[in-house]
């Protein structure tokens, strides 16, 4: 960032909550990191505005006791993440300090623990050889991190092409050991270790191009996979009022999704929810590999009582880690709960800097900040032709449950999947409470995904999905008619339309996240059940009065539900299937 090794110094000039004004003696950069010396402890802060010789910095800690005149040292770089083997299974704070190696029960101001152990030895295998041309992100070697192939890459900060002068032989090396030497165009040597640093607010661009996503990312949640699928490298968001099941939804996805790496950013949420993850993830199995979930997971915990400025940083830290693993050719799933808390952190700072506010007092550039962040997700072709992806799903906590608020609206412009949690569904215990009609996945319109789904699942899969959606839509209309005209004021057909949509709702949409079998439905089973449900809704049935419809369909639904609760294709499953066929036979007409 700056040429001189002599960095700028300054003195505290003013304090307003966690905004500190620093009088500086030299050049400073926007977003540069500095340390305020308080009673011998340096407190980390970030420059967010400069006017003349005054730098406005947001402190990532409590500012209690700070005084004018205290010394400030600038670091010459932006907020950086340290990236290298050892990140998986870790629990970090918003600035990527290891929470487990901190000393006390309470978080101490200025206790900055290293992100991972620099002395730990890893078994290294070279992937490149001396003389190879390399650039930022090129794979130099590999270590096994929790059984996941962790590539040791040429630093992301590298500009242009370099020559690999030497690379270490296979063997045990510590993270801080030099494992390769690069030569730049001027012939100067650059030693490379297993760890590198990257400014978290900048996107890692070490790839060839970013195509449109074209591959399904299976989550095991039927209402997502079947009706509104998310894709590898896709973006989605889940808005919903409190109590509508956002966190349960995200936790289900984090447990079940078909991803190599899962990064959970708990951003300004309840500490006890993070404790759930800490407690459960080391115990639960990854359904894809059978290993423990924690082995593929990293948790960034900035709970709601931790400093606000670090809350903003936490989502960027999480994204930088995701980009690091994507560059290794891995499928990364990034979850942020909740992006509204991040936006609120921005609002608090904007307010303290006395900026003119936008809607609901949020900063004017909020939509730009959100869209910039979402744009960092995506599937990419790396320089070596391999693919890697970051799928990003964020939750939004709209104030008062009203979706017409700035964070929801800004997010809706950029995220391609919209999973609207409805209070009404939550109240009637229809979980997951994703509204099937409001929600959408734009990816379903992508011809490349349509083709892939039809090849992967069933030749007319897209057609079936459309039919299911249609049934739901028509069912909603029928329900409205019945409500207005009364049960006996509409035809039997209207009742049938309504109950057919109830079958889709109860069997495809609703899913028991706490049941061992029903919690996760693999794609093959989803296909089977979708076809089964459609065969039920396609059956012509005869009734002599509307009063017969309700009890009949309750039997149909109950039997199908038992199928959902039974092991797929087990004896029990087939028995219920047989029972269903008999029930249909009772009233079947040609």
């Amino acid at each position: 960032m700056k040429d001189t090794a002599q960095y700028t110094k300054g003195k505290v000039n003013g304090i307003i909550a966690n905004l500190v004004i620093v009088k500086v003696d030299g050049p400073v950069a926007q977003n540069e990191i500095c340390f305020i010396r308080h009673a011998g402890t340096p407190l980390m802060a970030e420059v967010i505005k400069v006017i003349g010789d005054k730098a406005y910095v947001q402190v990532f800690e409590s500012t209690r006791g700070l005084q004018p005149g205290m010394e400030v040292a600038f670091a010459g770089h932006m907020l950086e993440a340290t990236l290298g083997p050892g990140i998986l299974s870790k629990n970090y704070d918003g600035l990527m300090h290891d929470l487990d190696t901190m000393s006390g029960t309470f978080l101490q101001r200025g206790e900055y623990t290293p992100s991972f152990d620099m002395d730990k030895k890893w078994s290294f295998t070279p992937l490149a050889k001396a003389g190879d041309k390399v650039m930022a992100g090129s794979w130099l070697g590999e270590v096994k991190e929790n059984n996941i192939p962790h590539k040791i890459m040429a630093p992301f900060k590298l500009e242009g092409q370099h020559t690999l002068k030497s690379v270490a032989e296979a063997g045990e090396y510590a993270v801080k050991d030099t494992i390769a030497v690069l030569t730049d165009s001027r012939g100067e040597d650059i030693p490379v270790t297993m760890a590198q640093k990257w400014p978290v607010k900048k996107a890692v661009k070490a790839y060839q191009n970013k195509p449109r996503p074209f591959k399904l990312l299976e989550t095991g949640v039927r209402t997502i996979d079947t009706l509104n699928p998310i894709v590898e490298g896709g973006t989605g968001f889940i808005p919903g009022p409190f109590g509508s099941g956002k966190t349960v939804m995200q936790q289900a996805i984090s447990k079940q999704a078909e991803a190599d790496i899962v990064i959970v950013a708990a951003c300004g949420e309840r500490a006890n929810e993070v404790v759930d993850l800490f407690t459960e993830f080391p115990e639960l199995d990854d359904p894809w590999t059978g290993r423990k979930l924690m082995e593929r997971t990293t948790i960034i915990a900035n709970t709601s009582n931790m400093p606000v400025a670090a809350r903003e940083a936490s989502v960027y830290t999480a994204m930088a880690i995701a980009e690091y693993y994507r560059s290794m050719g891995l499928k990364v799933l990034l979850l942020a709960d909740s992006t509204s808390r991040w936006a609120q952190a921005l609002r608090e700072m904007s307010n303290r800097m006395e900026e003119l506010p936008g809607p609901d007092a949020f900063p004017m550039d909020l939509p730009a900040i959100i869209s910039n962040f979402y744009s960092r997700a995506g599937i990419v072709y790396l320089n070596n032709g391999q693919t890697g992806s970051i799928t990003f799903i964020g939750t939004v906590s709209p104030a008062g449950g009203n979706l017409k608020e700035p964070v929801t609206e800004s997010t809706k412009k950029v995220a391609r999947c919209f999973y609207a949690l409805s209070q009404q569904r939550a109240d009637s215990k229809r979980y997951p409470a994703i509204d099937p009609i409001e929600s959408y996945s734009k990816y379903l319109e992508y011809p490349e995904l349509q083709k892939a789904l039809n090849e992967q699942i069933a030749s007319d899969w897209i057609g079936q999905v459309e039919r299911l959606k249609n049934i739901l839509l028509r069912g909603k209309e029928a329900a409205e008619q019945i409500n207005i005209l009364g049960d006996d004021g509409v035809s039997i057909d209207t009742h049938l339309t309504f109950w057919r949509s109830e079958v889709v709702d109860e069997i495809i949409l609703q899913q028991d996240a706490f049941d061992p079998v029903d919690a996760r439905t693999p794609m093959q089973r989803q296909k089977y059940m979708a076809e089964k449900v459609l065969s039920v809704t396609d059956t012509n049935l005869s009734f002599s009065s509307y009063e017969e419809v309700n009890p009949y369909f309750k039997r149909v639904i109950s039997t199908l539900k038992q199928m959902n609760y039974s092991e797929f294709e087990s004896g029990q499953f087939k028995q219920y299937e047989e029972e269903l066929a008999q029930i249909l036979e009772e009233r079947k007409t040609a």
Partner: protein
């Protein structure tokens, strides 16, 4: 808060607003306490040598040449066993004619617990109120508010919960409590002979509103002492948090901050979370449980205060008057305890989750039947029975005057199921019904 010798006294006050004054001073730390003409104040802004102080009692009568003395420390509380049984004001000064407390001086509003050092809450709190224990079970380390309109008896219910919960210490944070309610709490504690395990920090409606901002932090600092140092189970009662938020908005308004939704400061979520997140279960067995009150305006939960609270707390409890039985009940539909999953059926009898769900479902059927009735439709036999059930369920389980143990609650529920419904209508797992369904012959 006596002044010490050799303290520098500043007298150049440059600006006075209703709640703040700005004095020229040096060597002052952020959030430091000060006395302005004998009134307590706290540093809220420093720009070079201009120090802005928030005067808790208001700035009435402060002259521009008032003496300002800085204390060299933020607000503190002396914590020790001696706190038990005492009543204090918002500054932690005794209001019960007792001596000044002694012990370690702790800064209030201290750091947060490292999330990896927390334990997953798993210990049941029984209150005897079935509307809570059966449907919305509380757990130590939980934070949960009553969402209630001002006319509802939330303080009475809270006092009842506090007396019955097996807590080692109960800490009352009275925020803008009416004098009558303050005396009510005092009376209940005395009558129960529980004074020795109760500590109160009280700001009544007679006290200046800005002082209220200190009350929750005082209460929680005392709570942390007993939970961390003594490994005790501490229950903190905060009533009424809406008045706390109102005080926040007064201060932010006086500091010229741009208000966000409902005239509340943009930092409301963080400000409330900092308090509520003090609820914790420690590894060593100590815990802090927070039961709060958030008064609503006409039941509106979309207002910024209940809305932000709902996103922070682990559920909420609603009270409602049931006109059928003429009693106040814990509303089974709108109330929620997010942590109940950690204990029900595990620390309570195995049939608890299913019984709870079945009863609420049948109660919902009764609500539908009532709508039918109101719209002039005919009721079926099932509808009639559901209505009868609802009335009995309200009377014997939901009403706040119920006081029975967890096993008894489940037995009563089974008795009502059998009285009004068939097994198929209750529709639970067969093995549970075989085990618990009472014989009709009795």
């Amino acid at each position: 808060m006596e002044t010490r010798a050799f303290q520098r006294i500043y007298t150049k006050i440059g600006q006075i607003t209703k709640a703040t004054c700005t004095v020229q001073a040096t060597g002052v730390g952020y959030e430091e306490l000060a006395m302005v003409a004998g009134k307590a104040a706290q540093v809220v802004k420093i720009i070079e040598d201009q120090v802005t102080l928030q005067v808790f009692t208001g700035t009435e009568g402060i002259p521009t040449n008032a003496e300002v003395v800085f204390m060299g420390k933020p607000p503190t509380l002396k914590v020790g066993e001696g706190l038990a049984g005492r009543f204090f004001n918002a500054y932690g000064q005794p209001i019960d004619d007792g001596p000044e407390p002694e012990g370690d001086e702790q800064e209030i509003g201290g750091p947060s617990v490292n999330p990896v050092k927390r334990e997953q809450p798993s210990e049941l709190i029984t209150t005897g109120i079935a509307g809570i224990d059966l449907n919305n079970t509380l757990v130590t380390g939980q934070k949960i508010p009553f969402f209630a309109d001002p006319d509802q008896p939330f303080n009475q219910v809270m006092a009842m919960v506090a007396m019955r919960a097996k807590a080692d210490k109960i800490i009352l944070g009275g925020i803008g409590l009416t004098n009558d309610d303050y005396l009510y709490f005092k009376n209940v504690f005395e009558n129960a002979g529980a004074l020795h395990r109760i500590i109160s920090f009280v700001n009544t409606t007679e006290d200046p509103p800005v002082e209220r901002l200190l009350v929750p932090d005082m209460a929680l600092t005392a709570a942390e002492y007993f939970a961390v140092e003594k490994n005790e189970k501490v229950l903190v009662l905060l009533t009424d948090m809406t008045l706390y938020a109102d005080a926040l908005s007064i201060v932010s308004n006086r500091m010229d901050q741009i208000p966000s939704k409902d005239s509340m400061p943009g930092s409301l979520y963080s400000d409330l979370a900092k308090l509520y997140e003090k609820a914790v279960q420690f590894e060593a067995g100590g815990s802090i449980t927070i039961i709060a009150v958030t008064t609503l305006s006409g039941g509106d939960i979309t207002h910024a205060i209940p809305d932000n609270t709902g996103y922070i707390t682990e559920g909420q409890l609603f009270l409602r008057r049931d006109t059928e039985i003429g009693k106040v009940i814990v509303d089974p539909f709108r109330s929620l305890s997010r942590l109940k999953q950690l204990v029900i059926g595990k620390k309570t009898r195995a049939d608890h989750p299913q019984v709870m769900n079945a009863a609420v479902r049948l109660y919902a059927d009764a609500a539908n039947a009532r709508t039918k009735l109101e719209n002039g439709f005919d009721l079926t036999d099932y509808d009639e029975r559901a209505l009868e059930f609802a009335k009995a369920y309200s009377e014997r389980l939901l009403a706040i005057d119920v006081n029975i143990g967890p096993e008894k609650m489940l037995d009563v529920a089974w008795e009502l199921f059998a009285k009004y419904f068939s097994q198929a209508e209750v529709g639970m797992k067969q093995e549970l019904m075989d085990k618990y369904w009472p014989d009709k012959e009795d």
